[in-house]
Amino acid sequence: MSRAHIVTSPAEAVAGIEDGSTVLVGGFGMAGMPVTLIDALIEQGASDLTIVSNNAGNGDTGLAALLAAGRVRKVICSFPRQHDSYVFDGLYRSGKLELEVVPQGNLAERMRAAGAGIGAFYCPTGVGTPLAEGKEQRTIDGRDYVLEYPIRGDYALIGAQTADPMGNLVYRKTARNFGPVMATAARTTIAEVRETVGLGEIDPEAVVTPGIYVDRILDLSALASQEVAS
């Protein structure tokens, strides 16, 4: 099924995520972090996951809680170490977590390549640094480049501001960050949104992520009103 589907519960949103999956998780710090979907993933129980995200969790919530629950085998990120990344730090230092550090722009571009059907690309970032060691290099027009491969996700969990029934998404301010790129790079993209609007209510010129990239939508405002009703 290719058309976006509006789900009614967090459990339905993350249903079927298999053990061993690669999951792209949006957000830059807490901005754009799909906390409700991550909590649902913890509840759902999938383990042995590879998580691709800019950071490796802040405090005890969101990604940090998923790590603390022991569900993650490997983290691919640009910046794991933060003042409040103690959950990650502890697991990494005790050897319970594999880490691949990727320059932030390469992280984004490698997912963009996955979503755009690019086999690999030559990138100038990291030439002559430890992160380029062992990678194929080439000089083009006198400049050195490193060959970088796509990062594909089985699933993407992202946060957005508004969705319509087509799955079109609009984001808000810098909470957009990795969302649009991750949406293209995963086999199944799951978005939590703050509101859904009717068909035609998002200006087509303002759509950031076209619905073709989106599979499941969880409307947080509808969840909140369900809770009030019950």
Partner: protein, 226 residues
């Protein structure tokens, strides 16, 4: 393409001590041309923003997806959806634009940014940069956008103290810390002197509370003058 230096000869400011952090930020701000697109790295480089005049026409880029970033947010202005690359809440200026991460780094890598200001552990006289990892065995590696920024902007300015806490120079013949980028820095702004660096080595533009002779004594590199 580097920004040209205004000074025609090396100036030794001997009637004063080293620059304060605030004075150093003001010095960097002085040298950023009007109308530039600029990225200020996390930490001390952020202070440069306080010295950019409102009429400078300078547009700030933050790699988490924004052009036209304003000052830090206060009180009710704080919005969790609007932060800078250091995850500090900020404000937006009229004419601001938001974009996703791949676009944000494409505009950086693609050479559209004029100036980037970064902190550093070490810079070599040839312009190599080390600012992401001390190489200590127990340190958790974290690179963020440092490598992308180092090779992306047309001019990379480094802002740092000239000497580490143990007195060893941070402008060195060859970086001993793991590199962030090769031959990427064009200027090094320090509390003791302003240097141009690159394939022709290090040239002193100005000194602060130190003579050329003293600088020469404390650094292990050959120093040129304007």
């Amino acid at each position: 393409m580097s920004i040209a230096v205004a000074a025609t000869q090396t100036i030794e400011h001997l009637d004063r001590g080293p620059l304060s952090k605030d004075e150093l930020a003001a010095l960097v701000a002085r040298d950023i041309p009007q109308g530039s697109y600029v990225n200020l790295g996390i930490g001390q480089p952020t202070m440069v923003a306080d010295h950019l005049g409102a009429d400078s026409g300078i547009v700030l880029h933050t790699e988490n997806g924004m052009l036209g970033m304003g000052r830090a947010a206060r009180d009710e202005e704080v919005d969790p959806d609007l932060t800078n690359a250091g995850k500090i809440p900020v404000t937006e200026l009229p004419g601001a634009a938001y974009f996703h991460h791949a676009d944000s780094f494409a505009m950086m890598r693609g050479g559209h940014l004029d100036v980037c200001v970064l902190g550093a552990f070490q810079v070599s006289a040839a312009g190599d940069l080390a600012n992401w990892h001390t190489g200590a065995p127990d340190a958790i590696p974290a690179v963020g956008g440092a490598m992308d920024l180092a090779i992306g902007a047309k001019d990379v300015f480094v802002m740092m103290t000239l000497f580490a806490k143990d007195g060893s120079p941070k402008l060195v013949p060859r970086c001993t810390y793991p590199l962030t980028g090769v031959d990427c820095v064009s200027r090094v702004y320090t509390d003791r002197a302003l240097f141009l660096v690159g394939t022709e080595g290090a040239t002193v533009v100005e000194t602060f509370g130190m003579s050329m002779e003293e600088l020469d004594e404390r650094l292990d590199i050959e120093l040129h003058t304007l």
